[in-house]
Symmetry: C3
Subunit: 299 residues, 3 copies
Amino acid sequence: GYGRFGILYVDTAAGDSTDITSRFRLQIDATAESDAGVTFGARVRIQQDNDGSADGTTTGGVGVDADGDGDNDFRGRQETGINGVRFFARSGGLEVGVGNIFGALEFMPGMYPIDLGLTGHSYDYTAYNFRGDAYDSDTGGAAGLNGVEVMYSAGDFSMHVSASDVNDRLAAHFAYTFSGWTVALGLQDSDAAGDTEWAVSVGGSVGIADLSFAYAKNGDDNNIVGAGGNGDHWVLAARFDVGAATNIEAYVADADYFAETSYGVDFNHDLGGGTSLRGGISSTGQDVTLVDLGVRFNF
Amino acid sequence: GYGRFGILYVDTAAGDSTDITSRFRLQIDATAESDAGVTFGARVRIQQDNDGSADGTTTGGVGVDADGDGDNDFRGRQETGINGVRFFARSGGLEVGVGNIFGALEFMPGMYPIDLGLTGHSYDYTAYNFRGDAYDSDTGGAAGLNGVEVMYSAGDFSMHVSASDVNDRLAAHFAYTFSGWTVALGLQDSDAAGDTEWAVSVGGSVGIADLSFAYAKNGDDNNIVGAGGNGDHWVLAARFDVGAATNIEAYVADADYFAETSYGVDFNHDLGGGTSLRGGISSTGQDVTLVDLGVRFNF
Amino acid sequence: GYGRFGILYVDTAAGDSTDITSRFRLQIDATAESDAGVTFGARVRIQQDNDGSADGTTTGGVGVDADGDGDNDFRGRQETGINGVRFFARSGGLEVGVGNIFGALEFMPGMYPIDLGLTGHSYDYTAYNFRGDAYDSDTGGAAGLNGVEVMYSAGDFSMHVSASDVNDRLAAHFAYTFSGWTVALGLQDSDAAGDTEWAVSVGGSVGIADLSFAYAKNGDDNNIVGAGGNGDHWVLAARFDVGAATNIEAYVADADYFAETSYGVDFNHDLGGGTSLRGGISSTGQDVTLVDLGVRFNF
């Protein structure tokens, strides 16, 4: 697992605040291998964010004013137990998962081209915009509904099919890598109008830069700027290595429901021993400015 | 601990369903030994079933329709934290336990002659029918009430006395093994009319078969067929080794409150490395048909 | 972590009771060290007391009558998940902590001169009387509000500054050790009238005895005997080694809000292997008599 802590500055139309941000994630991967070489396992997390909600319904890293003094608190309500469990059976390039599944769109190449700053900021750079199944690290995940999935890879080709009771989703992605570039296609059938319909991405390396482009059709545009999340969503992102221990990431993204174009830049500096200094600044699609800076340590 | 996952088919008078069933159990046994050789310890579990209830009040493995689509969900509400703690001090054949105790009837030989299929099914083959204290693995156990117990064994003889605030229960069992056969007697005094009054069991091996018979007097018969749980309850069960890695278990049981005789059969096939394939079929005393099939892995 | 269990006798004006008392504490200290020698880490606990409250609002070790039979139960409602997380960065004598902080007054030398009996009894011997920030081991700690702190030590000098959103507290302590004696001064600024304003302590060894005196000014006296917690609070405590494996502790304390002078005595006998037998008797400032006896084991 890992821990991270630092400072988060949030500037919205309603005012600005500077607070401590933190996350503790204890990950338990329990496995056993049969004589025939099939690995059976389970993944659970005990995670606690200071995101002001026991169910993770508030934007990550943004606190609540629990004591009513007009300032966001250092810590709000938090998760305390394990999340929903993902069980799996894996053999060679084939893996079957049940429970709190990863999700075919969530795991599609190009959906997390970068991880901005310390906290991830607004995740505007994730084109499918969480309009599909995903592994939920919060305790609330244990209260959710989930599904089954099959992942398969052979050489340069990989695919992932997932299904769940949530909106009766059935999703798949297919990815192929050639000459250092990966192209991926995602498809989803769902009962919900706002869920992602299809997505494409392409990513690869040019010199010191890793470049990525992703596009998702997240249902029909609802013609409401600044609300909803439907319509087109595209993301252009890049990562540059600068020196032996430092990289810089940047993105620009837009979507039909964004009030303005979203963009951001960060740095990650390796301090050795599994520790790193991280920080970033972004201007989100909802015209919120986020700045964070802090430390992450793996254990 | 262990994980298990698979498919569960349930056929009741109201209709049938096929869903994923799963359990994750992380067991923590923390101990220390004094210079005089007394072991002090605690047992806790972090367990999550997909049994549709935060308190484990629903039948194990049966889901709920949390999203209201008419199908049982893959996962319902689930436990996320540790259960109630059992503390103990042990020296030689003597053990004193406090807290979330095991219970003298629950631990009486012959009460769990088999463990049917992947999920245990209806546990109709447990004659005392949970009408006594037992170790509770759910988070709800932490909200319960519990007691004290003393366990003692010497050679072929063993005994177990437990007491708790729940119904002011005082229970004991005595067991003796001779020539490969174990006979046990259980007794309980309780404020509740439906609690077990006494029980007997006998079990041993004949060739490749382990045979077990148990009877419990679970309070007075309430003369309501299909409801309540009072009156006589008897169980006949057997386990057969078939091949080096496979065994088959079967039982037949009846009780005053059963609508019909309960019976079932299962198989357990060792896959090596702590993994096994398990499945079973049963027809319960409430005329419900259960079929399960899946994998269990120890870690 | 550790476990402890035993018997607790409580005698109040309303009557007396004898019940089982227990605590299970699993402590997780997760750390990583950068190449430059800075240690980053997090401390969380999974703790369960039988204190009759999910939020630890009831006096430690005192049960509730959850089943309504007129007796306190063996176990009441209990914590099941992790508590609030304390994150830290440490290098040499300097440590910065955020989240569920230790607190400058809680960590001031002389505030815990002894740890009475098995359960700690009333903690009347803690002069600042919890009128400042402290690390909260209960799940409820995760629902609280907390802060930031800096701890620094160099040779015989140490200091600790902490701040939190709770009552806008800003607290500090300074301690110096010379010739085996430690003197400490604590100061706090707070929005709450009842919070500690300042405190002093002095402690050291004379022959086989460790002696400690502490005084705290916990806001203005509210002139209500037997209620509130304001005004002066002083504590005199001592620990004596008697034999190679046993020590005896004793204290006498008084405060403006005490109905009578508080005092107590205990013994701790090392059983080896991280196990010990502990017991104590005290008469608290609220005229309650407490007697406990039991075992503690570290794991």
